[in-house]
Symmetry: C2
Subunit: 471 residues, 2 copies
Amino acid sequence: MITPILLCGGSGTRLWPLSRKRFPKQFAQIAGDSSLFQQSAQRFQAAAFADPIIVTGDMFRFIATRQLAEAGIAHAAVLIEPDARNTAPAILAGALHAAKSNPTALVLVAPSDHLVPDVEGFRAAVEMGRPAAEAGQIVTFGIRPERPETGYGYIKIRSFDDALGAALVDRFIEKPDVEVAEQISSDGEHLWNAGIFLFRVDILRDAFAHHAPEVLECTQGALDTAEEDLGFLRLGTEAWKTCPDVSIDYAIMERADNLCVVPYDGAWSDLGEWNSVWRELHPNADGNSTSGPVEAIDCSGSLLRSESEGQVLVGLGLKDIMAVAMPDAVLVAPRDRAQDVGKAVAALKKAEYPQATDFPRDNRPWGWFEALAHGSRFQVKRVYVHPGASLSLQSHHHRAEHWIVVEGTAKVTVDDEITLLSENESVYIPLGSVHRLENPGLLPLILIEVQTGSYLGEDDIVRYEDAYRRK
Amino acid sequence: MITPILLCGGSGTRLWPLSRKRFPKQFAQIAGDSSLFQQSAQRFQAAAFADPIIVTGDMFRFIATRQLAEAGIAHAAVLIEPDARNTAPAILAGALHAAKSNPTALVLVAPSDHLVPDVEGFRAAVEMGRPAAEAGQIVTFGIRPERPETGYGYIKIRSFDDALGAALVDRFIEKPDVEVAEQISSDGEHLWNAGIFLFRVDILRDAFAHHAPEVLECTQGALDTAEEDLGFLRLGTEAWKTCPDVSIDYAIMERADNLCVVPYDGAWSDLGEWNSVWRELHPNADGNSTSGPVEAIDCSGSLLRSESEGQVLVGLGLKDIMAVAMPDAVLVAPRDRAQDVGKAVAALKKAEYPQATDFPRDNRPWGWFEALAHGSRFQVKRVYVHPGASLSLQSHHHRAEHWIVVEGTAKVTVDDEITLLSENESVYIPLGSVHRLENPGLLPLILIEVQTGSYLGEDDIVRYEDAYRRK
């Protein structure tokens, strides 16, 4: 069995406003009805694969477990990086964790934010690489280029090794300029580097010991000092902090000599920027790729997305423009500026727009909330609580709250009193009272919360008990 | 004294999404902190002018009176057209109404959705025209062309008549094509037709009697059968329905021979489409005109507007693009397609998007409400009630309501009980109960309404009493 290691700690901004620091693209529904992370995890739901190991950040831990549960994936180890340190430490941590139960475990490392439409074809490619990996090779998967892409790194291959069932690697090539890309993308000797790797964990450990011993030392240290927390495995902060911020390509792949590559001919995209989303979402005859309530009139070559049912986006006479609309943020740019969206987000951040990093839906371990309206002394939120979930026992110094249940059943504690509320019932939480909201039911609970008071920040909270061990 | 007649019954869609059928551009804040209608009304707040006569539609009557009150204009006659019949009947109705108190009253007719930045200059031009109007001329005001505009009609002038203090009119010219516009816009003999007229009401009546007697007959009939309703004057529907749909230009101006024109050299715009808004709102050095929370990065020649404080609009690398963002609707187009926005709205209407006609803020005689959220069995609204205003005494068959006061004071009737609620207090309105909401205070009342039930349409309402005589 192969153990998948899924990396989902990144927080890219080039797909802003859909991808933001607090809710990055791997968790968003960009193509299809499930998130890229869910699609990635499901790709390895097959007899050949063991339960996955997820490596993610503290901010995303409950989003990841919730999305796994929704995707019907019951068992997964979730490792939490104290902070993001690039791919080398993350991959090694996952591999060393797999080694605990099987010192020669075969693992497949994959990003969780890429698009791989042909699941069967991809699994077949993994099987192609298995003999080489079992024989001690680090197997990468190289995508046959479809176009002179300048946004990807390339792998130059040498001869195909029949014994290995894979090609030998000549060298790795960083993102090329247009001229070089045009030259190498069609010569049959270069493949796109997809960042997908198959290897035995003992082989990877040896490679780190040889090529990057400092990374091995601190990652092993972080794993040795890891702590269980509500089923998550929190890597030790002290050791982790000493880890260099380094990519697996730089630390290992560009140095190791037991490296081979299995070519993959199927479709693949890293959905790295909106232009690739446009390309992968099958533009129509006019070259338009649309999603959500959109009217494209006399448009061509354009990406038009409205991410909200209640917001219609009208494109009129647009040519090669991308427009992405959300109720709190709208992006409009020519498609050929897609690479610069990250810079635009940096400008937004500098101008202190919360939309640069915050998502309208604020995910919490118990569910989520979103702001519906606010005034100088009031705020209205929609609050969603998962079945069985519970908010902390808490109080506020500056605000009172009205809760109106609109779907499901709520169990509400206010000081010494516990009540059950069903749809169309309400309760008042006076300022200063110690209260808790729970969903005792089997269906989601949705309530409307109206807060009134002189200060309405999220930080006006005193927590007495919390099922999720938050402070 | 000159009596201003302000026409504000139109419902143009070329400034969609800011201008919609239910809340058209004259009432929107497009330039400055007050609406175009308010700016138009204030233009005539001077010693030379009598109280204005407003001609508008039923749907806009309370918006108009509310905006007049906000602008500090206490006295105005408001005539309600049973339906829109173009400018000839509307102007004539206003003139005949003015004639009731003074059969030779001097009136100034002006659209309420144009931009006239130089108020003093405009008033001076009106004074220039006064002698001719008093002498029995129909005086129009012609704007000195700034550019070869194809969106306006032109007036060709003959010689200047010193005795009249105005130029004689050679003829009216419909919107020209580019070639003609280039030729005539700079020859000194052509002025833009701004649709502003100064005349004695007896002179206009004579002109209608001579050139369009059927319009005179039915307009006079509509005025004779008009009914007072809460201070509005509702023109008689039967007579009005027989009125031809005809413009004042076609009915009178192109036919009358007692016509002269006062040239006006000041700035003027009909703000007829987004391109003119871009032009009039003083583009910066890069040619960008922005309003609201907007980040324009590497943009030029673009119009970027976010109409909502909570919605940031990011333009990246745009050239000559217009983007207008609202939480429920976003428009993106090249500026040179501004003339086609009406067509886009027609397409939206055909596709049955409510945003084609409805505005997020639904104006009512007592204030307004806006939808904050909805689910299959619930709906959340923000409700704003003007000081002293009162909703109807009503009941619903399919929904219960929770009201939480977040600003001001509410007087609430539920069946036989009357309560006063202040900020942070709530009340429950059970399904079927007869209830009423009033604002007894001197400050605005804002409450959050949570509706729950199986049907939540606005038409589930039984009205028992209504201060605004609605059915």
